[in-house]
């Protein structure tokens, strides 16, 4: 272990302010000058794209280093280079001063680089301990693995029950398992890819405390994020990427979030949804979505919607907030008709849905942007024009009888690409090669372009860069302004508060709270999302 040279003081659990001062006495000084990671001039090209263009990144031992950038800025590519998934076309990587060249992720793991991915690499049918055994190289039997999980969990404040099946765990707990696995493999450089995307504010704070503890242990933590507040809160230094290039590295305590935002986007960005004059007007007499007593089966018992009542009016944006896995996803699927309802009714603009599935819902004027946009919402390898026709291909003008009208499909696609500013070489391009923001624009163009009565948007901005988030939010506002009711499912409270007329909180499949605009209380909403009733104070 590389603890010897870090010599940092005693762990400061979750204590950001005190550490900020610490870190400004440059973190690299603590390492005696040898950085844990030093990437120089790293260049990675893909067909027609330079994902990383001479990127420099230096991370000291014992430091929490944020890697900030929009989607498509090259953060993922850079971390894939560092974890051995990609081989750089140019540039050098040094770990603790020694040049390395990884041929596979296995080499990187052997060299002490571990990554906690946004999408966990866990076998959900196995217990925590069994997952621990996988890839540990046969170092343990199940009993010692359980023991090790408890020890590590205690040491780093990551309590997990080793005997629980992974599918029974909350997303936050699954993330803990991933981190424990990395720690167990003696990772000295730990990369966390957007780790807070799935957490409640309270869970995120606990994660930050763990990150700090790992850094105090002499490990280097690379924190990939595009959330400025979090970066400001937890990191010692920040490296910003834009368009595949390094913008610069700054000491967090010496910068501001406005400055970071400017670096990240290349211009100043303010999304002004608080502009009340511009807020969509609600038509209180027209209920476009009327859900009564809706229950459905869930992936897990906690995530099955249980007797949900919900109304959305024309022009109204209602946000459903909750930690992922508390039934929001199933609720949306049940309303749309791809998940069977076990009780309750759904009416769209006054017409009862007869639970005949997506075709009926679409015909009634329900549009749906699913969480998994590139595999569920869109068919990834099909060209853009086919994806834009995915809902309308059954009816004129896109088809006549059993035959498609290729010309009409292409004309409609050209029009939508123009109207929604989708950046693509052509309408024949496979959808999966577009950037995240443009993929979402294809989906929005198709769904909003059908002039629906009600639009359900499930985490529509997750994983997008600041610019694309702005575009998506404006599109949702525009849709509401045109009289569409919008049901926005989000884990991002800032987003909910910026956009919604009303916030509904879901926990374990039930609606546990409702807040009209003007009465938003972030603390209470956060607690409700975490399953605490409002009266109990501050536990996390």
């Amino acid at each position: 272990m590389a603890t010897a040279e870090t010599g940092a003081g005693a762990p400061v659990p979750g204590g950001r302010p005190s550490n900020a001062a610490d870190a400004s006495g440059p973190a690299s000084a603590r390492a005696g000058g040898v950085p844990a990671v030093s990437m120089r001039g790293v260049t990675k090209r893909f067909v027609g794209v330079v994902a990383n263009d001479h990127v420099d990144l230096e991370v000291a031992p014992g430091e929490v280093h944020a890697l900030l950038g929009e989607n498509g800025a090259g953060k993922s590519t850079l971390s894939n280079v560092l974890t051995g998934l990609y081989r750089p076309d140019e540039g050098t990587i040094r770990l603790f001063g020694q040049e390395v060249s990884f041929s596979s992720p296995r080499d990187a793991i052997a060299a002490g680089v571990a990554m906690v991915h946004q999408h966990f690499r866990l076998v959900t049918k196995f217990t925590v301990a069994e997952n621990f055994l996988l890839g540990s190289g046969g170092a343990y039997d199940a009993k010692t693995a359980a023991q090790r999980i408890r020890e590590l969990g205690e040491e780093y404040g990551l309590p997990v029950d080793p005997d629980a099946n992974v599918w029974e765990l909350s997303v936050g707990e699954q993330q803990r398992v991933e981190i424990l696995k990395a720690l167990d493999r003696r990772a000295r450089i730990l990369i966390l890819d957007e780790p807070t995307a799935v957490l409640t504010p309270q869970e995120a704070d606990a994660l930050f405390a763990t990150m700090r503890r790992m850094a105090d242990d002499g490990r280097s933590v690379i924190f990939i994020s595009h959330k400025l507040q979090e970066v400001m809160k937890v990191s010692d230094r920040v490296t910003t990427l834009r368009d595949g290039k390094t913008v610069g590295t700054v000491v967090t305590a010496e910068t501001t979030s406005a400055e970071l935002a400017r670096q990240m986007v290349g211009r100043s960005v303010v999304f002004s949804a608080d502009d009340t004059a511009d807020r969509p007007e609600v038509d209180p007499d027209r209920v476009v979505l009327d859900v009564r007593g809706l229950s459905a089966e869930g992936v897990r018992p906690q995530s099955s919607p249980k007797g949900v009542d919900l109304q959305v009016h024309a022009g109204e944006i209602v946000a459903i907030c909750g930690v992922s896995g508390n039934g929001q996803r199933e609720l949306a699927a049940a309303i749309y008709g791809i998940r069977r309802r076990t009780a309750g009714t759904v009416a769209i603009d006054g017409v009862q849905s007869r639970q005949k599935g997506p075709r009926e819902s679409t015909a009634l004027g329900l549009a749906f942007i699913p969480e998994d946009r590139l595999r569920t919402g869109l068919s990834p390898s099909l060209p853009i024009h086919a994806n834009l026709a995915l809902k309308g291909y059954r009816r004129p003008p896109l088809s006549r009888g059993p035959f498609l009208d290729g010309r009409a499909i292409r004309a409609r696609a050209e029009e939508l690409v123009r109207r929604y500013g989708i950046k693509t070489p052509s309408i024949d391009t496979p959808t999966r090669v577009l950037s995240g923001g443009n993929v979402q624009k294809v989906l929005l163009a198709r769904e909003i372009g059908s002039d629906p009565h009600i639009l359900i948007a499930s985490t529509p901005t997750r994983g997008l860069d600041v610019g694309a988030i702005e575009t998506v939010r404006h599109l949702l506002m525009d849709a509401a302004r045109a009289g569409t009711g919008v049901l926005l499912i989000t884990e991002d409270l800032d987003e909910a508060m910026a956009l919604a007329h009303r916030i509904v909180v879901m926990f374990e499949g039930r609606v546990v709270g409702e807040f009209p605009r003007g009465h938003y209380d972030i603390e209470r909403i956060g607690l409700l999302m975490g399953g605490h009733t409002g009266d109990r104070e501050g536990a996390a």
């Binding site: 067909v47 060249s101 749906f368 595999r375 990834p380 390898s381 995915l390 035959f403 498609l404």
Partner: protein, 372 residues
């Protein structure tokens, strides 16, 4: 150090270069084998070329040999394109042959204008139903279609064997030499399918039907709602479900279509070529399996199945004609195997890019030492 990287985009030229390259590599590997076996590769290939394409008669023989491969190739292409691994082309082919010969035998005196379309319909129906059985279990219960379709091949072979060897069935010849050697009853002249062409070139009806089927399949993918749905389901079943496409029904329909094409191949085998139900002959030729090679080389493109079936038909034709002491036995089968092997490897290359690196990664121990 060799490593593989997934390709983001598949360049267009690869879809031509890979099959051509696969064939070239297979021929080179075959040449090595021929040389090792003590023959001249150049000479052997020259003779194959001559026998397969050297004269009008060779062309006719090659096209006759290509006909069943064209239809089983289309059957495999239709199913595999959607990710349905229909290994049962052989069984569907046999069932098509049984049904078509049954109809042909039942209508000995009816004009061919009536009996032949009925034979075609019966063959397609039987092959389609035979494929619909595993299709149903696959789409309803998620049963692995590789296993079920493969098992049904043996069932079909045994059904055909029973009809000729195990019983005094309607299909069995009970007069003349049939009393000595068990064999099938031959079709009447009316029920024998016509051949087309001129100047000595004879193209069997089955081949023409196969070309039409290939064109229909291509047009289906390109111009119809059903084809659009197949495209979505093959690419992303989740997206298909989301868009309201009935995924199981689409899968079952494609499986049935695939079986019907193989069944048409069986009907053509009876009407065009054998004119009699011959279980042993059907088993030995293994058209259903060779069809998978054809489809793989064609990268599931129905139009590309036509030339590739001719290529493999030529090989089979030459193999039959050249059998003897100076021609390596089993060469044709070996070449077919090499072609499939190269086609599958080639398919892999369209997905990944091979990178050659040189630096050895450091081990953890070395890094620890560096860090200390």
């Amino acid at each position: 150090m060799i490593r593989l990287e997934p390709r983001l985009l598949r360049p267009k030229w690869l879809s031509v270069a890979v099959p051509v390259g696969s064939i070239v590599v297979a021929l080179v590997l075959g040449a090595i084998l021929i040389t090792v076996s003590g023959n001249s590769a150049l000479d052997t290939y020259g003779r194959i070329l001559d026998v397969a394409f050297g004269s009008v008669q060779s062309w006719s023989d090659t096209i006759v040999a290509a006909t069943p491969l064209l239809l089983t190739g289309l059957a495999a292409a239709a199913a595999f394109k959607m990710g349905l691994f229909n290994i049962g082309g052989q069984g569907q082919f046999v069932m098509g042959a049984i049904a078509a010969s049954g109809v042909g035998l039942a209508l000995p005196d009816v004009t061919g204008f009536v009996s032949i379309p009925l034979m075609i319909a019966a063959g397609m129906l039987a092959g389609g139903l035979w494929a619909a059985i595993p299709g149903f279990f696959k789409t309803r219960f998620g049963t692995n279609e590789v296993i079920t379709t493969l098992m049904l091949n043996y069932v079909a072979a045994n059904v055909a064997g029973y009809l000729i060897f195990g019983s005094m069935s309607f299909w069995r010849l009970t007069t003349g030499s049939g009393q000595v050697f068990p064999q099938g009853r031959p079709l009447s002249d009316e029920a024998v399918w016509p051949a087309f062409g001129g100047g000595g070139l004879e193209i069997p009806l089955g081949f023409i039907l196969g070309c039409m089927a290939a064109a229909c399949l291509w047009a289906l993918y390109r111009y119809t709602r059903f084809g659009f749905e197949i495209g979505v389901v093959s690419d992303s079943p989740e997206a298909a479900r989301y868009a309201g496409i009935n995924v199981p029904r689409t899968g079952l329909a494609v499986m049935t279509l695939s079986g019907a094409l193989a069944g048409l191949g069986g009907a053509s085998d009876i009407g065009d070529i054998r004119h009699v139900l011959d279980p042993k002959g059907l088993g030995q030729t293994g058209y259903g399996y060779t069809g998978i090679v054809v489809a793989a080389l064609a990268r599931w493109n129905p139009l590309a199945v036509i030339p590739l079936s001719i290529l493999l038909g030529a090989l089979a034709n030459a193999g039959r004609a050249l059998q003897g002491a100076t021609f390596p036995a089993g060469l044709v089968g070996t070449l077919q195997g090499l072609l499939l092997f190269c086609a599958v490897s080639g398919e892999f290359l369209t997905r990944y890019r091979v990178r050659v690196g040189h630096k050895r990664p450091l081990s953890a121990a070395e890094l620890e030492a560096q860090a200390a």
